[in-house]
């Protein structure tokens, strides 16, 4: 009997290797192939000609571990087809694709990306902020169009040092952003679900008050029911006409329609966005603005991060299959 390709290459060894279900290929596979997971038998659902629910019913009944890159929503319906599931390992920085209460109810453990990506995402946030304030992308366009003339002045930018930076969400990413911007002389404040005990930055219990006291807001939190459209018109108006918003979280944390209006009506000075509500769609008004910088959701896409993520995924799977504590368990749901 021939085994279909999607059940793995190690035919004679397949009984010894632990099975890991993969619904769609994570980016680490594009870079490293699946060599990094030589120690596991990958059940690659996307390579099967069968529709997903049939594939799962036939092949995934005893699967305990699932590896997900994060685009496919992991809902109750999927879970019903993987009754033995005990662990999900996600390579996405966010958890919004996972029905967390349902997972908790079923006692399924979740291994997150941990802080593998935090430096790259923080670098992107700082890069976008400097670009917006100093008009780097706009100036680069200007030069390439042949418009530079020493008599006509390119518009002045705004100084980064001593800007009041409000960080929304002081998790691993938020803390890396804060550490970097402090070195530029920025004044850091933050809001978070809970005040962080060993942090000296001023804490604000709500984002509206934080915005009122900030020149810049950097969105570093995850997308949940509570944070959806948390950055609304009131928050943006509180941030003010000189205010800048940087989003490296999830598009839906900001009310995108209101953001566009505020920018069009100059209620906000600028924005740097790596994420949008309906990717890859970007509101057309933004496409011609010089005071925004647009990035195609690439904050974590460096070879260095992908390689580190391979090791991290492997580490979590090995821990699980040898009954050891996960490297990056998601605790408070």
């Amino acid at each position: 009997m021939t085994t279909p390709n999607c059940l793995g290459n190690h035919d004679h060894q397949s009984k010894e290797l632990s099975q890991v279900l993969v619904l769609e290929p994570p980016p680490i596979m594009k870079l490293h192939g699946d060599q990094f997971l030589n120690d596991f038998q990958l059940l690659k659902a996307w390579e099967s000609p069968l529709p997903l629910d049939q594939f799962l019913s036939i092949h995934a009944q005893s699967v305990k571990a699932l590896l997900t890159p994060g685009r496919y929503p992991l809902t109750k319906n999927i879970l019903q087809l993987i009754p033995s599931l005990q662990l999900v390992v996600t390579t996405s920085a966010g958890l919004n694709h996972i029905d967390l209460p349902e997972f908790q109810r079923r006692g399924i453990a979740i291994a997150s990306a941990g802080d593998v990506y935090s430096e790259d995402v923080a670098d992107m946030a700082v890069g976008l902020l400097i670009d917006v304030l100093r008009k780097i992308s706009a100036a680069d366009r200007y030069v390439r169009k042949g418009l530079w003339d020493t008599k006509a002045e390119f518009p002045l930018g705004s100084k980064l040092c001593s800007k009041r930076v409000g960080i929304v969400g002081l998790g691993s990413i938020g803390q890396e952003v804060a550490k970097r911007l402090q070195a530029f002389g920025c004044r850091i404040m933050y809001t978070s679900r809970n005040k962080k005990p060993f942090v000296s930055y001023p804490y604000y219990s709500n984002v509206l008050e934080l915005a009122a006291d900030s020149d810049v807001l950097i969105i570093c939190c995850g997308l949940t029911e509570q944070t959806r459209h948390m950055i609304n018109k009131d928050v943006m108006l509180a941030l003010g006409k000189e205010g800048v918003v940087i989003n490296i979280g999830r598009g839906a944390i900001i009310d995108e329609k209101e953001l566009v209006q505020c920018l069009v009506q100059r209620e906000l000075a600028g924005a740097g966005l790596d994420v949008f509500e309906n990717e890859p769609h970007v509101p057309r008004e933004l496409l011609t603005m010089d005071n925004v910088v647009l990035s195609p959701h690439r904050a974590v896409r460096t070879p260095e991060s992908l390689t580190a993520m391979c090791e991290h995924v492997k580490g979590n799977l090995e821990a699980f299959f040898s009954n050891k504590p996960l490297l990056s368990p998601v605790m408070n749901i």
Partner: protein
């Protein structure tokens, strides 16, 4: 009292013009149909010259202004001023250090991030609609890369401090080693370039530092190396830079300055591993105002016989 004539060489800042106009008899050289004629006509009353990074008091101008007492530059770089001639004639020279240090250092890091993470290129990718057809490719991580700094003065140190927050190991080349710092010193730019991944020019332009980044240095920096220039265009051998980038011997470049501003080599326009800025190192509202106040403050101090605020000569 006779009003003091101040010659401003090119437009640089309308707030500065305003403030000079209020206090002095301001002559705007760029408005003159015939510059030598204009200078001759007003030479008797011109006691101060205000220049910047693009235009300064060279030997010819100094000779044409017998009553010149002070040159106040709206810049920290003074390579356009004939300093030797000023010293010879007892002419004071002031510049604008410190107030612009942070802006220039911020821009240096901004350029590093923009080049390594392809911020300008991926912004273009979104605006052109390409994102709808497919994801943008991978870019290179900045955190942890070794940063080599040529010139560890005020600006070089400010760049180092910022890069350290990204866990970048710092090394440098300077005319003399700086014993107070813990950064690794290399006795030549070539050795520095061989041992870092991002090389940034942050020294002043002098006869010794012209073309300090040459073909050899760029080859040593290599196909994965990135060159950042926030100093002066002539620090880098520009034709060699262009061929190194076009041929892939150099990994990328972030440039704020060029040998013959505002000319930028057009071969660079098609490259996605370069970021090109129109000499905006100090171009923020806040810093230009601080620089203008310093220029005016220096002139006021001089003409009321008080100590200069930021003298160079």
């Amino acid at each position: 009292m006779e009003s003091i004539g101040v010659l401003m060489l090119i437009p640089m800042n309308s707030y500065l013009e305003q403030e000079l106009q209020r206090r002095y008899n301001l002559f705007k050289l760029w408005t003159a149909p015939q510059k030598p004629q204009f200078i001759k006509e007003h030479a008797d009353s011109i006691r101060a010259v205000v220049g910047n990074a693009f235009a300064g008091a060279d030997a010819e101008l100094i000779e044409a202004l017998p009553r010149l007492e002070i040159v106040s530059s709206f810049s920290v770089g003074v390579d356009k001023i004939d300093l030797a001639k000023c010293r010879e004639k007892g002419i004071r020279v002031t510049y604008t250090p410190d107030v612009l240090t942070e802006d220039v250092a911020d821009l240096a890091i901004g350029l590093m991030l923009a080049v390594l993470r392809r911020l300008c290129e991926s912004d273009r990718y979104v605006r052109s609609g390409k994102w709808k057809k497919g994801d943008y490719k991978l870019t290179t991580k900045f955190t942890g890369k070794t940063v080599g700094i040529i010139g560890l003065g005020r600006i070089g140190m400010a760049i180092a401090k910022r890069a350290e927050a990204f866990n970048c190991p710092i090394c440098y080349y300077s005319r003399t080693g700086k014993p107070d710092t813990e950064y690794k010193y290399y006795p030549s730019v070539l050795e520095l370039a061989s041992n870092c991944q991002i090389l940034v020019v942050a020294c002043s332009l002098t006869a010794e530092t012209r073309h300090i980044v040459n073909r050899e240095v760029m080859n040593a920096l290599g196909p994965k190396g990135v060159l950042i220039n926030i100093g002066r265009g002539p620090h880098i051998d520009e034709p060699e830079l262009v061929s190194a980038l076009v041929e892939g011997r150099l990994g990328g470049a972030g440039l704020d300055v060029y040998e013959h501003e505002p000319e930028v080599p057009e071969e660079l326009f098609g490259l996605e591993n370069v970021v090109l800025l129109p000499h905006v190192g100090t171009a923020t509202v806040e810093t230009r105002k601080a620089m203008a106040d310093l220029v005016v403050g220096n002139l006021e101090a001089h003409f009321s016989n008080k100590p200069l605020l930021s003298p160079l000569v």
